[in-house]
């Protein structure tokens, strides 16, 4: 028994939208980061599902790369959040708004 590809796409789309919602509403930098991770994972679901569907491994391998890059991104992001905290005493992303217009 197989599940139709459209369900995977719907699942990933839902996940993507949840991530997007998090990005737009969360003010905590870590939550922002997690939401972005959700979006990336939505893409991973797509990639793996389509790899299965198309019968080639390209998507799966690419999903691995995406995960690795997501990890690297988190590493850099955490670093930036650390200095953010050191400078602003907060991890609220809306606090630093000195530069505008």
């Amino acid at each position: 028994m197989t599940v139709g590809i459209e369900y995977y796409v719907l699942l990933s789309l839902a996940l993507f939208c949840i991530g997007l919602f998090g990005v737009l509403t969360r003010r905590n930098a870590l939550m922002f980061l997690m939401s972005v991770e959700l979006m990336l994972n939505a893409a991973n679901i797509n990639l793996i599902a389509f790899a299965f569907y198309h019968g080639n491994l390209t998507g799966q391998v690419f999903a691995l790369f995406t995960m690795a890059l997501a990890a690297a991104e988190v590493a850099v992001g955490l670093g930036i959040i650390l200095v953010l905290y050191r400078n602003f005493r907060d991890v609220d992303v809306t606090v630093p708004s000195e530069m505008r217009w």
Binding site: V9, F16, M39, A43, F65, G77
Partner: protein, 528 residues
């Protein structure tokens, strides 16, 4: 030609490989000798690496590597593969990477900007604690950008793009105790993470529609009609890809990070991002849309000519960038917005493509990015010089700088007028070609008349704020109550600024060959 020394084909990747190697050397140096502040050695290694990359890229270009046609290259001492015979683009690793004229062209741009930035950083970053980290991050980012020029598959594109982005985030925020720098880094990073998520999702959709990630394979699937069933997925995927590229090139609506990141970042990094990073963003944009989504077949599948997307983006980007720049009081921020505006100009290169032509306008966009690499880097480095002297950030603070630094201010005038597209400088020609290219394509699609009109209006507006800066430094008198304490004359910054200025001027007489090269490169990717 017989006596040429032939290198294996993978050696065509020497420009990015040299950059990567230099980054690793710097890392190794810092591991052995942690927290070294031996600036001459570190900056020297970085500059040498960037120059080596530049020299190899120029060399390959001259030798005809990746070019087509039997008389593509000159007889040089060593060549890659049998490229002298003009066998066309070199495919590497099963088509994951490709080295052709366009790749080499942008490798040159990236390497030049990297070298300039590394030279300028010698003075600008003096006294900063993380010297080795700074330079190795710079070179890693440059590696990513250089690889982007050669990336020929959505996998390599994404990896290269992230390799360019991640060090950039860190570089923007590298002034750890400077709130502006940290704020800039945070905003850049958050928008970047969001954009790359959208981008990856776009990739997954394109993969879903075609089952491939390699660009030529995607094009083939589209051409053979096997993607017809997934036109919705493909269309959405393409728009999401555009989003990812728009982030990298600082195009509206993904440009929001740019003004802040450029304003808050150290000036050399702002120069680096706004020139090299933008150019690298454009090269993959050009490659993806010319190689993977050929206009004719893609239109048949998704029912929409994708140039429309770029027409909209080009107009909006130009307008937002230039209008927002017009009333800035902060020089660096003005340059940041102008950089957004210039992304709009370069987008014309894709907006004005037509089914049976467009190499002129695509070539013009490439030329514009090359010229921009010099003039914009120079302008930001001038801001770096001003920051080095601590003269303040606003236009008013720049008043009368020419009395103190006439040479640098003359260079600044060159940059500004070239950015505005005033005839005697390099910026004029590329803009002129973009304009004529847009008009030519207007016969096929009258919306391009609008683009051409927007180009003219925005250029006129840009002259206003560029000349404002020139007026400030040359004509206005410094506030006499201000007792400025200038430091010495920073040799590195000066050298970089002057070199950029000379190149901006020299590119005018040299424009013939540059234009030929760019148009050759453009027609090569359009044909394939």
């Amino acid at each position: 030609m017989i006596d040429a020394f032939t290198l294996p084909e993978w050696a065509a990747l020497a420009p990015p490989l040299l950059l990567a190697l230099t980054a690793l050397v710097l890392f190794a140096y810092d591991s052995i000798n942690p927290r070294s502040t031996n600036r001459p050695v570190l900056a020297g290694v970085a500059v040498v690496g960037a120059l080596a990359s530049l020299v190899t890229a120029v060399w390959f270009t001259l030798a005809g590597t990746g070019a087509d046609g039997p008389d593509a290259g000159y007889d040089l001492w060593f060549v890659v593969g049998d490229s002298v015979t003009g066998t066309g683009a070199i495919d590497l690793f099963g088509g994951q990477l490709v080295v052709d004229q366009m790749a080499l062209f942008f490798m040159i741009v990236v390497a030049v900007v990297t070298a300039l930035v590394a030279v300028a950083s010698y003075d600008y970053m003096a006294g900063h604690a993380y010297q080795a980290e700074y330079y190795s991050l710079l070179l890693l980012a440059a590696t990513g950008m250089s690889t982007m020029a050669a990336a020929n598959s959505l996998v390599t594109i994404f990896i290269a793009l992230e390799l360019a982005s991640l060090p950039s985030y860190a570089l923007v925020a590298i002034l750890k105790d400077n709130r502006g720098s940290v704020e800039a880094g945070l905003k850049y990073f958050l928008i970047g993470a969001l954009s790359s998520a959208i981008f990856v999702y776009g990739i997954s959709l394109v993969y879903g529609a075609t089952g491939h990630l390699q660009l030529e394979a995607i094009a083939e699937m589209i051409a053979t009609g096997e993607a017809d069933a997934y036109s919705g997925l493909l269309g959405l995927g393409i728009v999401m890809l555009i989003g990812g590229f728009a982030f990298k090139t600082a195009s509206v609506p993904f440009h929001f990070w740019a003004p802040e990141a450029y304003e808050g970042a150290p000036a050399p990094i702002a120069a680096f991002l706004s020139s090299a990073s933008k150019a690298a963003g454009f090269v993959i944009l050009f490659r993806v849309f010319t190689t993977a989504f050929p206009l004719e077949t893609t239109t048949a599948v998704i029912g929409l000519d994708w140039t429309i997307a770029f027409i909209i983006l080009a107009i909006v980007t130009m307008t937002v960038g230039n209008f927002a720049a017009a009333t800035q009081q902060n020089v660096k921020r003005m340059l940041a917005y102008s950089s957004v505006g210039h992304a709009g100009y370069a987008l014309i290169g894709l907006a004005a493509l037509t089914v049976d032509g467009g190499e002129l306008v695509l070539g013009a966009a490439m030329m514009h990015l090359l010229v921009y690499g010099f003039m914009n880097t120079g302008a930001f480095l001038f801001v770096g010089l001003a920051e080095y002297w601590g003269v303040g950030r606003t236009f008013d603070a720049y008043n009368g700088l020419a009395a103190r630094a006439p040479v640098a201010c003359a260079a600044l005038a060159v940059f500004m007028f070239s950015l505005a597209g005033i005839p005697p400088f390099g910026g004029f020609w590329s803009k002129y070609f973009l304009f004529t290219g847009a008009l030519e394509a207007a016969s096929a699609n009258s919306a391009l008349l609008l683009v051409a009109a927007a180009l003219v209006v925005n250029s006129a507006l840009s002259l206003y704020y560029y000349s404002r800066l020139v007026k400030a430094v040359w004509i206005n008198d410094a506030d006499p109550s201000l007792d400025r304490d200038f430091g010495g004359t920073p040799t590195g910054l000066y050298a970089a600024i002057l070199f950029a200025a000379v190149m901006t001027v020299v590119l005018l007489p040299a424009f013939g060959p540059v234009a030929d090269l760019a148009i050759d490169a453009a027609s090569a990717v359009l044909v394939s």
